[in-house]
């Protein structure tokens, strides 16, 4: 069975803490998502997502606080605003937009962390491997915003 490699970028205050809670509660979920911490989902540069696909990720999951609950007041709204552009870019690069997901997970939703990660893993598994790395080795995306 194909085991997808998925990057998770989680905000410090809600989603990363939620993932910690899933751990404390010993909720088991798919091992495919590797989580990188940022302070706010608003920090997520579209470039991070493209870089992840370039580095061999089959999917990218960004998670932040629920709308209205952002620790930094409204950082998650900025993320929300960037996603349509990102999805459009992904399409132009020939990447299925379903390989990217933005989710809201609060610090108390350990069970939701497991749910989201499991369903994301299944979704990407169905799409199959991306293999974008081999085709983009010479491309530089640092100018893409």
């Amino acid at each position: 069975m194909f085991e997808p490699k998925i990057l998770g970028i989680f905000c410090n205050w809600c989603s990363y803490t939620g993932a910690d809670l899933a751990g404390t509660a010993r909720i088991k979920y798919a091992p495919n998502v590797r989580i990188v911490r940022v302070m706010c989902s608003g920090r997520v540069d579209n470039n991070f997502v493209l870089k992840a696909f370039q580095e061999g990720a089959d999917g990218v999951l960004v998670a932040g606080c629920h709308p209205g609950d952002c620790h930094y007041i409204e950082g998650n709204y900025k993320t929300m605003g960037r996603v349509p552009i990102l999805k459009e870019m992904l399409k132009q690069f020939g990447i299925e937009p379903e390989r990217f997901r933005l989710e809201w997970i609060s610090a108390s939703e350990g069970d939701r962390v497991a749910e989201v990660i499991n369903s994301m893993t299944e979704q990407v598994r169905k799409l199959g491997p991306l293999n974008w790395k081999s085709t983009t080795d010479t491309k530089d995306f640092s100018h893409v915003r």
Partner: protein, 661 residues
């Protein structure tokens, strides 16, 4: 010169080592770039574990440290301190979370080991690019704000005020005292609630260090630990606090009722189960602090048609003023204690219990009012027709321990049900039937109290009551309320006819708890109670530094637990104030002047208005005192001119690359 990274892998007993093959990860780490030292230890956070790191920093001249253990939210501070004491800038530490995000959540050992390697590779890659940062300190404003004037808020305010610091106590209702001021007796000692609470309320009213803002609400909160600025709306009472003497002439003469007026010669109207005067101008209880009435705009005749003003005419000091307006104040404090309490579950959501249809079905709080000496019956337990009941049923767990409503146990119901049973026996001699699922008498003196009630002849029936109806089948049920229940000890369904029913409804989060958590930047659990920073070791702290929680706004609890937690929160607030200054996040944003084109996109994006455009230089600058380091501006800058310290592009990209390799 390339960095020298030390990698420290924690077994965490068997928490990590039970799932992750530590030896394999050690061998893997040795091959990672820039790594010069790899060690593993049973408990890295322990003294000997930390010493391993400290010694290596000194002897091996490490300039970066990576600890693969639990979540950084758990022990980053511990390891940063270890680095600092060994002379390494504490921002040169990075952690890989191989416990909460790996060993605890992964089914198979092999995949857990692979995931741990990936997370470690990411952490090492980022660590190589970390840069030292300077420590930043902010001053702590010595004043404290307490939100909520129930027993939790009162206790916290008094503790802080007694230490010599100024406290602002903000209470939404016209009087402090909260739910406790509405109780008659308290379990299991049967102390009179008013006798133990009223002196504390008076103390609050008179304390030179407490400024009581009753009938007020916090509308906005700005700032950060040590420097909060709260906007408080002091709602108009239409009675001048300075002039009022609390004599009561106004409510005695007021012709308007804010609750349904009793009809005929009935002694009790259960709809009017209110403490304090039932008129449009009223005090919530006669022991109210401040002892100043307030006008209920809904029922006041003057606010309906511009006439009446009997209260104005009857007031001997001229304190009543219908034209009074709200006052909005800005208050600066260093820390905040949130003690906003709870509300009761709305039992009309469970129509099977007939609340609202049968006048002799009461909630626990209404039954408290009925028992209270200053209540509508002067403390006598009477039915709606004014007669004492011959039998009473007390139903536990209405809305608690019920997957359809609240899954949790409300913690106090078993004990106050026992207290009710005792009071009924004492006052009326009526037969008491107590329907319980499990009797939870876990506290000090609780089990003894339960045994006492068993001897007093209360009939305990193990089983949750399913329905209350007035449909009699047998002659002895005529005119009675019939409680149907599955008696789990007898193993059969029973019908118990009674005169009166008390529903022990669940304690739930206040209706505005979500707004409050948004306003104050707090997290809440899925049932709406505020979330503490750590369920065991930081029960009064929150995710927001400088804001503490106490009492039932955190979870249902009884009075002794509430008081203990309130004193704990007060101690935390005093600790901050006593320190005078606190270290804050150094990981702020930084604008590269050479790359900034002065486009000003970041200026409006910053939620804290921390970026200003400097017209003379035609570029933007970050005000570091205001920047919280969220990084939103960094992601948006079209010229990559802004760097987020600790999370700059190169660092995050390195970590991404590392975990994906």
């Amino acid at each position: 010169m390339s960095p020298k990274i030390g990698v420290y892998i924690c077994h965490c007993g068997t928490n990590i080592a039970g799932k992750v093959a530590i030896d394999e990860v050690v061998e893997f780490a040795k091959k990672l770039p820039n790594v010069v030292m790899v060690r593993d230890y049973k408990f890295m956070c322990s003294e000997p574990g930390q010493n391993l790191i400290k010694d290596d920093i000194k002897k091996e001249k490490l300039d970066r440290v990576v600890v693969a253990s639990c979540s950084p939210l758990m022990h980053e501070k511990t390891f940063r301190t270890a680095c600092e004491t060994a002379g390494l800038n504490k921002y040169l530490l990075h952690m890989a979370n191989i416990r909460e995000h790996c060993s605890w959540v992964t089914e198979e050992n092999a995949s857990a080991t692979e995931k741990a390697k990936a997370l470690l590779r990411g952490a090492v890659a980022k660590a190589a690019l970390l840069e030292p940062l300077e420590k930043k300190e902010v001053k702590i404003h010595p004043h404290v704000m307490v939100i909520g004037g129930g027993i939790a808020g009162i206790q916290a305010a008094l503790d802080i005020a007694d230490s010599g610091r100024k406290v602002y106590l903000v209470e939404k209702e016209p009087s402090i005292g909260g739910h406790m001021s509405q109780f008659d007796k308290t379990f299991p000692t049967l102390d009179c609630a008013a006798c133990i609470l009223t002196p504390k309320m008076v103390q609050v009213g008179q304390h030179p260090n407490i400024e009581l803002l009753s009938y007020s609400e916090v509308e906005k909160l700005d700032g950060y630990v040590g420097n909060f600025k709260a906007t408080v709306r002091m709602k108009s009472r239409y009675v001048n606090e300075e002039k009022c003497t609390g004599c009561g002439d106004c409510w005695n003469k007021c012709p308007a009722w804010r609750v349904e007026k009793p009809k005929g010669d009935k002694k009790v109207v259960h709809d009017a189960l209110t403490l304090g005067p039932p008129k449009a101008i009223y005090m919530p209880t006669l022991q109210a602090i401040p002892a100043v009435p307030v006008i209920d705009k809904e029922s006041c005749i003057y606010f309906k048609n511009g006439k009446c003003q009997i209260c104005v005419k009857s007031c001997p000091t001229g304190a009543v003023d219908h034209k009074m307006v709200d006052v909005v104040r800005e208050i600066e404090v260093g820390s905040i204690i949130v003690a906003t309490g709870y509300k009761l579950f709305d039992v009309t959501k469970m129509p099977q219990y007939g609340y609202g249809r049968y006048p002799n079905v009461l909630t626990g709080l209404e039954f408290e009012h009925l028992n209270c000496a200053s209540g509508p019956t002067g403390g006598a337990v009477l039915m709606e027709n004014g007669q004492p009941p011959k039998s009473i049923a007390i139903l536990h767990c209405i809305g608690s321990r019920d997957k359809n409503y609240h899954e949790y146990c409300s913690r106090v119901c078993c004990m106050y049900a026992l207290k009710f049973a005792h009071l009924v026996k004492e006052k009326t001699g009526a037969e008491v039937y107590d329907f319980y699922i499990d009797m939870r008498s876990f506290g000090k003196g609780f089990e003894e109290f339960y045994n006492r009630l068993l001897e007093e002849g209360v009939r305990f029936i193990r089983g949750k009551a399913a329905q209350i109806s007035n449909e009699a089948i047998y002659p002895e049920e005529e005119g009675k309320l019939i409680v149907r229940c599955d008696d789990t000890l007898l193993g059969r369904v029973r019908r118990v006819p009674v005169d009166m029913v008390v529903l022990c409804s669940a304690i739930e989060a206040t209706g505005d708890s979500q707004d409050m958590s948004r306003l104050l930047g707090l997290c809440h659990s899925k049932d709406g109670f505020f979330a503490e920073k750590h369920p065991k070791l930081a029960p009064v702290s929150t995710a927001t530094d400088g804001i503490f929680i106490a009492g039932c706004c955190q979870s249902p609890k009884d009075i002794p637990d509430t008081v203990a937690q309130a004193s704990g929160a007060a101690a935390q607030a005093m600790m901050l104030a006593a320190r005078g200054a606190i270290e804050v996040e150094s990981a702020t944003a930084l604008i590269d002047e050479d790359r900034c084109t002065g486009c000003r996109i970041c200026n409006d994006l910053c939620p804290y208005h921390a970026i200003d455009f400097i017209a003379d230089d035609k570029l933007s600058k970050v005000n570091e005192a205001l920047c919280k380091g969220c990084g939103t501006c960094v992601a948006a800058c079209p010229c990559s001119a802004i760097a987020a310290r600790q999370f700059n592009d190169a660092q995050v990209l390195a970590e991404i690359e590392g975990v994906l390799q």
